[in-house]
Subunit: 282 residues, 3 copies
């Protein structure tokens, strides 16, 4: 795990005993108002995401109490996004339809004052999505969520990840994340074994979760979409990113306790997103 | 729940005790011959469906004993649909490929006398799929399946749903559904907490199922595809739509009893589609 | 089951008692070094696959210890495949993007000396993928994996499958498979109730697995992608195809023991891909 950074709160899963008193999980308690507000508001989130992750993104948003909407053509996505509460854009597949549809859809969300989240999946080497992601920063996403390699590639450092992998630890992307914040005025969430969430004034490391989250496709994409859902009810991008990060990681911890392998982990993760912090749940 | 409509049989889940004698479920008994025939015939169903729901549609058809086939380009879909027993068209994603491929694929199915089912997902606001869905009515789908908002939008009333959501109760779409029936000569199934199935001469409310079905992506799309499978062996569209609706809803009830959340509900739903009404099953 | 073919080793699941001593499964023992090497190397596999099977392909590769990458446009797929260890090409959907992207992506993999696997899903009737699959043989895939109908259609015999179905037993494709081997210099795996794996010098029938594998979408696609993962660490295509076939089938047997239906079978299959042959696992 990364060494504690001065001025940054580090929370360690090992310091948080699992048990029947999980309602008292301090990380969860700090973001419980956002989780409850998502469940009450049931925000409609338009998602343009990697094809392979569509299932877990949609089912994960539903489990969390939000409502997903997915279409990506230039002809329809900008129109239907006008009735959504937030927009999540993930570059994971970047089909021709998505390539054409994303700029107009982001513009529609911005025009209507909807918060939107950018997940620059697998940028760096890929020749189309890399410049696209950089241009999209001008549309000021409320949160940029990616792994360290992707955040580095976003500001022109490093060579990007290989697929959804990250070759760098979140702390290595600290400077790059601050550069993104300067450009967007929003927040950045850098995912990894320890997650880093920061904006212009705050910075937190979240040392929760489980490596099992890396054994299921699309958990990162889901985190981006969940962040968009949280951004509808949260104070700002930082609070949204922090709430979504804790929500996913605590759900992951619960799922890991129950799972016999990556197949059952995926199922328990969706159950836990529904149950985390709910009455009778954790 | 909607008040009983005169002349319409209302079945209430509360009147159907769950227990070991579920083989005697009267709703299930009324459609058991269709379910058995699907399992025996194993109809091949070509599906053009929302990308996000492809997994549950294909796995759900397989669990039900049918066989799915999925491709949507104009170059191939019309050709391969000629070996299918039925066609299910869902407008949920409407990629450029699907936009181009759907009209020719429907025409091929019609030319070969195959039954086909239209699921006008999310029409209303969306500018391409709304006129497309209305034009497709001329190709006389054996069943149109949608939520109330979508059925209203199909005949030009209302503003359509938001994504897969319905803002209206099925009964509110009764007149619109009858208008669709007049145009297609087939049946309409309006999904909701209570489902409405009708054709020119019959109308039934099905008050079965569970709200858990709305917590998993693609259950509506699967219902449309399952209706197409049933249409291969049923007397007509009405019988196919009623059988598929009862099958899905009873499977949903069984799954809800066993599930700990939406993740495990999805798994149990697929198991229950396989087990419902089978020897040793419900 | 197909009758034993002279000179071909037939292994029968019925002769392999299930129990705590499954570590001694002789089929598994014969390929355990490949399975272990995949887990150690964690090969990055670029996959162009049927849209409906993307989820199980990606989650299955992750469960097996490999790492999936998926994008299919001509603009990006050939570039990102250069950092992959292997390429798996499945023609199941053949979107316009994939149609354009596949030839250049295969060329990039060949140029870089990466092994690649061809899965000619549903060729025969389909007018675009059939000639494409035949042309791709010139790029010498290390393994061609398909059902008997597809392998027959690849060399111009038979009329191909219907969707993912096979109308022919693997043994019926023996001659066609040998013709493919003559053209590619690699191996061919013909999937069915009994699987046939052969190359220029060797031929093996694998009578393992369970019919439950045909009740879940994409298990064949996953087998193709798993073969690509194995080809990174195996001696040659034959060893890769045999290892992947045994791995999938033994995992399927384990999952079938635990499953209550096709929904839970899918989950247990992913768990079993992770657990098979691992310490404390089978």
């Amino acid at each position: 795990m990364a060494a504690p950074v001065p001025g940054i709160v580090t929370r360690d899963a090992a310091q948080t005993p699992l048990g029947p008193d999980l309602g008292h999980d301090p990380d969860l308690a700090a973001v419980a108002h956002v989780i409850s507000a998502v469940r009450e508001r049931a925000p409609l989130v338009h998602c343009i995401t990697a094809t392979v992750s569509m299932g877990i993104v949609a089912d994960g948003l539903l489990a969390a109490g939000a409502r997903p909407m997915m279409t990506e053509t230039e002809a329809e996505a900008p129109v239907v996004t006008t009735v959504a509460d937030a927009l999540a854009v993930n570059l994971g597949t970047l089909s021709t339809d998505a390539m054409d549809g994303i700029p107009a859809t982001v513009a529609a969300a911005v025009r209507d004052g909807r918060p939107w989240v950018l997940d620059p999946t697998a940028i760096g080497l890929a020749p189309v999505r890399t410049p696209l992601a950089r241009r999209l920063l001008d549309s000021r996403p409320v949160v940029v969520r990616g792994n360290a390699s992707e955040v580095l590639a976003l500001v022109g450092s490093g060579t990007g990840g290989r697929g959804a992998d990250s070759l760098s630890a979140p702390a290595a992307a600290d400077e790059a994340a601050r550069e993104v914040v300067r450009r967007t005025g929003g927040a950045v969430a850098v995912s990894g074994a320890t997650d880093l969430v920061l904006d212009a004034g705050r910075s937190t490391l979240v040392a929760r979760g489980t490596s099992q989250l890396t054994r299921v496709t699309g958990t990162g994409c889901l985190l981006g979409a969940l962040t968009a859902a949280c951004s509808v009810v949260a104070e700002d991008g930082f609070e949204a990113a922090l709430a979504a990060t804790v929500w996913m990681n605590v759900a992951g911890e619960l799922a890991a306790e129950r799972a016999a392998g990556p197949g059952s982990f995926r199922m328990h993760l969706l159950d836990a997103l529904d149950g985390v912090g709910a009455e009778g749940g954790r």
